[in-house]
């Protein structure tokens, strides 16, 4: 798949109506059904948006933008990429001074948990970098992930492999959301740490559960 795939179903070449949220990439990477529940079914969950959003919002309001010598920090930066059809906000974009005229953008994403073993967070950060490149017409080779639990900052280089992964994830997430079909759940260990487990009901929905059997059981006279 190439990144032109989703353009086959956008209404125009650079439609601004078919943008999906950057966060959908991370949701998709974690679990296709989670992505569909949030972005197709629009299941409202305090844990997903409000908590994430509120924390970022508070930070933006409390700390605002600041400058420290050769680093300027912008918070809650609106982002967009028409090429990948993405829209969203960056928690933090640092601008590192290169010379008098030039500042190098450097996205930083704050995560509350601890580093995950897969590309999930890196893909989201890379998507932010691609948005910044498109909006500012500059190269953004690096960014960082900050993990609240470990208080560690991990630098991430946006190499070819990660960029390709990000573009493919964007394509697949677009296809999924445009299809309007929520895939059935596949129960796995990761379900237990998913904030949508109560809405998804992975163990109750799908192969193992039958409403008809349930009714037979309940209707029997005791």
């Amino acid at each position: 798949m190439t990144n032109t795939t989703y353009k086959t179903y956008t209404e125009s070449k650079d439609s601004q109506d078919d943008l999906i949220m950057i966060s959908a990439l991370a949701h998709f990477y974690y679990c296709k059904r989670r992505c569909a529940l949030i972005h197709i079914e629009q299941i409202w969950n305090e844990n997903v948006f409000t908590a994430e959003g509120r924390i970022m919002h508070e930070r933006v309001h409390e700390e605002g933008d600041e400058s420290r010598g050769n680093v300027r920090i912008a918070r809650g930066v609106p982002l967009r990429s028409l090429r990948l059809g993405l829209i969203g906000k960056a928690d933090v974009v640092e601008f590192h001074r290169i010379d008098k005229q030039t500042w190098q953008p450097f996205p930083v994403e704050y995560k509350r948990g601890k580093p995950k073993p897969d590309y999930c967070d890196s893909v989201q950060l890379c998507a932010q970098a691609i948005c910044l490149e498109e909006m500012l017409s500059v190269a953004v080779p690096q960014g960082a992930l900050f993990y609240g639990k470990t208080r560690r900052r991990l630098d991430v280089a946006f190499d070819e492999v990660l960029r390709k992964e990000t573009e493919e994830t964007a394509d697949k997430a677009h296809l999924l959301i445009a299809s309007g079909t929520t895939p059935p759940p596949v129960y796995a260990k990761r379900c237990e740490s998913c904030s949508l487990i109560g809405e998804c009901l992975p163990e109750k929905i799908g192969k193992h559960s039958s409403v008809k059997r349930y009714l037979m059981r309940m209707m029997e006279s005791p």
């Binding site: 197709i40 079914e41 629009q42 809405e199 009901l201 109750k204 799908g206 008809k212 009714l215 006279s221």
Partner: protein, 343 residues
Amino acid sequence: MKKHLNTLYVTTQGAYLSKEGETVVVKIDGEVRLRIPVHTIGGIVCFGNVGCSPFLMGFCAENQVALSFLTEHGRFLAKIQGAVSGNVLLRREQYRKADDLAFSAGVAKFILTGKITNCRTILQRALRDHGNKINEQELRNAVMRLNRQLEFFDQEYPLDVLRGLEGDSAHIYFSVFDHLIVAQKETFRFDERNRRPPLDNVNCLLSFIYTLVMHDVRSALETVGLDPAVGFLHRDRPGRPGLALDLMEEFRPFIADRLALSLINLQQVQGKGFKKMDSGAVIMNDDTRKTLLVAYQERKQEEITHPFLGEKVMIGIIFHIQALLMARYLRGDLDGYPPFIWK
């Protein structure tokens, strides 16, 4: 699982609700009487002359806090609705499936199975708990007849046949309802269900509790993105929340009827708390209404194992779970709608 949140009931006439930061403030005669963080409440119900600032209305709409206004006697006046949210694909599916009469009859069957099974459970529990104080023979007979009604459900029927079955079942159940009242028999007598208006104390209680349940069911449906107006068993009628009435069926016996019975049988409400108007309509006084609201809130905080999910949940969250299961069924995740059945 979504947490069960409390509902704030405001019954003091002249109270005014407003928003300060993330809290709801209740003022009476200009004095702050109550501050509640908004994330701890799931709904606000105002009775009678209670005012509310537009900013609080907007805030409630945005934060999925159901805000309704009722008359002092619990008749629905209005509710606050923010921008329509949720999944348009789900609502479309709901409308398409409600247009399909065979599918609608299938949903009606699930709903009525739940309702009639729960009615049967009420009678069986009464036999178990007050076997010596009540007319055992009539109750056993009614249980048997309800069982026969349930046997009909192993086949497909059109909606009007199902409606007939429902009418018969309701008649069987309410014909022995008076036997379930084991205290204060002289002031709480039940002959038949009447509602517009309620003509006796028991019907007055039932009607008021049904209104409370209705409010909760309706907001649960809206929260999951379903349209409360478009039902399957209850066909479209302007001004009537068809799907809310559908979903309510299984809760009538399990939550409302049981609550009314326990208030009477434990003598938490008394005859003097009711008043007969000149027209014959019966209304309740403020204290009785407060007693009822508190009892309803307490009932919603009790824990129970959800029969389909097998998880321990608070009763108050079951409305949301059932609305969610209905949505999942309409979107093709489930092979049927599993009603909440209490045994």
